[in-house]
């Protein structure tokens, strides 16, 4: 077994040998190695996070017909480091009347809720933090901690804007958790397991082709969960002046900010894992784990780019519309889709593969079409309530 085939195991064995050679008890060595592995993963992610700042700024600039950072380093690549230095040397303020412990705990929890997600991200066939048999649920659980961090930040800031922003954000997150969970169950049904590793292993056909609508709903719910535009009412600058993190400055704000970026990237990754085959790309992942990681990162970046695309293209939605959209449209749709997929999956079991794919795809398209029709007739009725019926076009006089 060479380093190139299974780098982590080789490295771990090597370290094990060294540590036990130093006379360390085996269990302690295992714990130490585990910590080192976590440290390595987090370091990589933080570096990636710094890079993401640059990506985000570059991309938003292009969307807005600007050039973006271009002074420091090639293509402005050094810019994020300058940002970090600025954040670090800024004054670390704490508002009067703030609940100090909670106030300081919130940004950490926020960052943590993102980082722990990577425990179940399969980077390569042999690289998976924990192969939880409930990996899918774990994602939702981590989201719950993110929710907690936001409400802690909003409450502890002792600021009305922060509190209102937190309320809104929490309401959105709690609500959109439901359709997200429902769509996450679609890969679960198709796989027969909740483990992320098993889900990827099962994707000889991308689940996107079996449940395209599921992928779309997952993307929408993920964007809402992230609190990014068009679902960023919680931090609407024009009315809440940045929402729950209004009182934070310096590195604490930096942690919220970096957490959000990494969160977006992570959900891009989850989109890839759940619906686009994760690290798999025509057998490339079998060649080398490093290639597999590259494939996963590439797919995650595409997902991330999609999220950014949406963010910088669409307008902000009002909070009650956002919640109504979720409870009255997205959640029922997700549940209907879940049932349809489960039913079709059972019905089409044992049929030829092409028929299976076509049947699943068409059933999804059908559900999507029906849902859009319902939404369209509803919106027409709403419009007519406001504007009155559409005027009949008068025929030209002969």
């Amino acid at each position: 077994m060479s380093f190139w085939n299974d780098p982590l195991k080789v490295a771990a064995d090597w370290l094990m040998g060294i540590l036990t050679g130093w006379g360390m008890p085996e269990i302690a060595a295992q714990i130490l190695i585990g910590f080192l592995g976590i440290l390595l993963l987090i370091s990589v992610l933080m570096v990636l996070d710094i890079f993401l700042v640059w990506v985000e700024r570059k991309v938003v600039a292009r969307f807005q017909d600007r050039i973006g950072p271009n002074r420091l380093g090639p293509f402005g690549l050094i810019q994020p480091f300058a940002d970090i230095i600025k954040l670090m040397i800024k004054e670390d303020t704490t508002p009067g009347g703030a609940d100090k412990v909670v106030y300081n705990l919130a940004p950490m929890l926020s960052m943590m809720s993102v980082l722990i997600l990577w425990a179940v991200v399969p980077l390569a066939p042999t690289m998976l933090g924990v192969d939880l048999n409930i990996g899918v649920l774990y994602i939702i659980a981590a989201g719950a901690i993110g929710t907690l961090s936001i409400i802690m930040a909003g409450w502890a800031s002792n600021n009305k804007f922060a509190l209102i922003g937190a309320f809104r954000q929490v309401a959105v997150m709690v609500s959109f958790e439901v359709p997200m969970l429902a769509t996450l169950l679609i890969p679960t049904i198709l796989t027969g397991s909740m483990g992320t590793g098993a889900i990827i292993e099962k994707q000889d056909i991308w689940f996107f082709w079996l449940a395209p609508l599921g992928a779309v709903i997952f993307l929408i719910a993920a964007i809402a969960e992230l609190g990014r535009a068009p679902f960023d009412m919680a931090e609407g600058e024009s009315e809440l002046v940045s929402g729950y993190n209004i009182e934070y400055s310096g590195m604490k704000f930096g942690m919220f900010y970096a957490g959000e970026l990494l969160h977006a990237f992570t959900f891009g990754g989850f989109l890839a894992i759940m619906f686009f085959g994760g690290y798999r790309f025509f057998g490339l992942e079998l060649v080398s784990p490093f290639l597999a990681i590259a494939v996963l990162l590439f797919k995650a970046f595409i997902g991330y780019w999609l999220i950014m695309w949406v963010k910088y293209t669409l307008l902000r939605i009002r909070i009650d519309h956002m919640l109504a959209f979720n409870w009255k449209f997205l959640t029922p749709l997700a549940f209907v889709l879940l049932m349809v997929v489960a039913l079709m999956n059972a019905l089409l079991a044992g049929t030829p593969t092409w028929l299976y794919i076509v049947g699943m795809f068409l059933s999804n398209v059908l559900v999507a079409w029906g849902a859009l029709e319902v939404a369209r007739s509803y919106s027409r009725r709403e419009r007519e309530k406001v504007e009155g019926p559409k005027p009949v076009v008068e025929t030209a006089q002969h």
Binding site: I134, L137, Y138, I140
Partner: protein
């Protein structure tokens, strides 16, 4: 003492400690946050018991929904965010006595039970607790009926909660 026992003791002490903080701290938001810590400790206890599904559901349901709801409720029922007056009622000493008595009684009863020092058998290899649980929840010869009853209860409770908490005089009912 094995590693597992040490872990359990630490988790149990932390959980009980934060549980005590829940019932004694003056600031209700802090109490709710201490509740989160307690619930997290219980989730870890589930994990120690190899009930991973319960652990994750504990986090999703309790921390993600119930604790958040508590914090919401605390904030909605406070005119300002400071606490005034005592947090304990006049009979708190009697409540404490009763709690201690209950614990003592339970401990006494447990002492007399023979199955107490039982240790867990190793899990069968390849045992899929989540799959088994899923089957048990939906198979007709197991618990599908209680499961459905629970879901009906939940729906009824939510509808009732919306009805009870809905304020017809506030402005949010109209468009």
């Amino acid at each position: 003492m094995t590693g597992e026992q040490i872990t359990f003791l630490i988790v149990a002490l932390v959980t009980l400690g934060s549980g005590l903080m829940v019932v004694t701290t003056r600031n209700l938001v802090h109490a709710a946050l201490w509740l989160v810590a307690t619930l997290f400790g219980v989730a870890v206890t589930y994990a120690l018991l190899h009930a991973s599904f319960l652990a994750v559901v504990q986090v999703v349901v309790y921390i993600g929904a119930i604790a958040i709801l508590f914090i919401f409720a605390v904030m909605l029922t406070r005119k300002d965010m400071r606490d005034q007056g005592p947090q304990m009622n006049r009979n708190w000493w009697f409540g404490a006595l009763l709690a201690v008595l209950t614990f003592g009684g339970l401990y006494f009863l447990l002492q007399g039970w023979t199955g107490l020092s039982k240790t867990a058998a190793a899990l069968p290899s390849g045992f899929d607790a989540v799959g088994e649980l899923g089957n048990a929840l939906v198979s007709p010869d197991a618990y599908v009926l209680p499961f459905e009853v629970a879901s009906v209860l939940l729906v009824a409770a939510l509808v009732g909660a919306v009805y009870v908490a809905f304020n017809p005089h506030s402005g949010n009912s109209g468009k």
